[in-house]
């Protein structure tokens, strides 16, 4: 009886978790989303961009996919700190990697273009 228990435990655990193989490399992205609302001082735009961009570099080096929405999230952070050029680059990247985002990204790109024109006046 005793020898069955580890196997049983494993099967119980397997039922509760997702399969270990994931489609995307998430890093701290979900937690940043939580922190930016619950403890914003711990997840300022600059803290987040530094951390998330470093994680993306690591994922790319390992050949892992960047999750949906992460590039757009970075675009929004750069928009908040008035870096319109980087914001535009990230919105375009999201649209390119995930065409499902086209309508929303086009909307955001219109906004960045409008801001760019305004800042040039």
């Amino acid at each position: 009886m005793k020898q069955y228990s580890p196997l049983l435990l494993i099967s119980i655990l397997a039922g509760c978790t997702t399969t270990p193989q994931t489609l995307y490399s998430w890093g701290t992205y979900p937690q940043q989303n939580y922190l930016m609302y619950v403890a914003p001082e711990k997840a300022t735009a600059t803290t987040q961009t530094t951390k998330l961009e470093a994680e993306i570099e690591k994922s790319k080096a390992k050949g892992l996919a960047v999750p949906p929405g992460l590039y757009a999230h970075l675009g929004l952070l750069y928009l908040q700190i008035q870096n319109l050029q980087k914001a535009t680059q990230y919105f375009e990247l999201e649209r390119q990697v995930y065409p499902e985002s086209t309508v929303l990204m086009d909307r955001l790109l219109q906004k960045t273009t409008a801001s760019t024109e305004k800042s040039q006046l």
Partner: protein, 224 residues
């Protein structure tokens, strides 16, 4: 007859595999879901039916990962939140009351997840402290307004609960030190709730079905 045996064995396997989530399974009608399979899911801000004001923004972030891993494009929470706020929609109730076709027009999403948080937080009692999270979820096709899928999940993590070992183990694996220091015990438990609620299941339809970006797309219930 063979079909019956297969169904029974599938249910048996499901019960074994789900372990901590044993609930009777009545097979869901998934025909509408399959016929209107969405590519993208807009996770709307969850409506908070609990007294804890943090619930919406603590629970919401935990939904993104399991839904994306199921094989759907998920719109970034921060962008969705900003779009709503810039258009004067400042609470989850208002966001969930927007007409489906309007949501489709603004975000370009095929479907939306409507979530209500029924329980969120800690209960302090004399002999034990328990943390509980409970949510109801509904996936709606934004073109037709039809409901594609519904689900709900409740988890309680108590000091002297036999379940604590397993749930506690999972919870511990999900958060790092910064988040741990905030001492919001319902947040890591929310992560487990979302994973169990949305991850595709062996008996198709308890969780979401596999979406177009999953290598298991259209293979729900197929055992290899």
């Amino acid at each position: 007859m063979i079909k019956q045996i297969t169904t029974i064995s599938l249910i048996a396997i499901n019960i074994t595999l789900t372990g901590c989530a044993i609930s009777p399974t009545t097979p869901k009608d998934l025909s509408v879901y399959k016929a209107n399979m969405p590519k993208s899911i807009l996770v709307l801000p969850p409506i908070n039916d609990t007294p804890d004001v943090k619930a919406t923004y603590s629970y919401w972030p935990t939904v993104i990962q399991p839904v994306a891993e199921a094989g759907y494009y998920v719109y970034p929470l921060s962008v969705v939140d900003t779009m709503f706020k810039e258009n004067g929609i400042t609470n989850a109730n208002d966001a969930q009351n927007i007409a489906p076709e309007k949501l489709k027009e603004i975000f370009g999403a095929d479907s939306a997840l409507y979530i209500r948080i029924k329980q969120y937080g800690s209960k302090y009692q004399v002999l034990q402290t328990s943390v509980s999270v409970a949510v109801d979820a509904k996936l709606v096709d934004l073109k037709s307004g039809q409901t594609l899928w519904t689900g709900n999940k409740e988890l309680v993590q108590a000091n002297n609960n036999s379940n604590n070992g397993i749930v506690g183990l999972l919870v511990g694996a999900l958060v790092d030190q910064i988040v741990n220091n905030l001492n919001d015990k319902a947040y890591p438990l929310s992560g487990v709730v979302s994973q169990q609620l949305f991850t595709p299941t062996y008996a198709p339809g308890m969780g979401l079905l596999y979406g177009p970006r999953s290598p298991k797309f259209q293979q729900d219930g197929v055992i290899k």
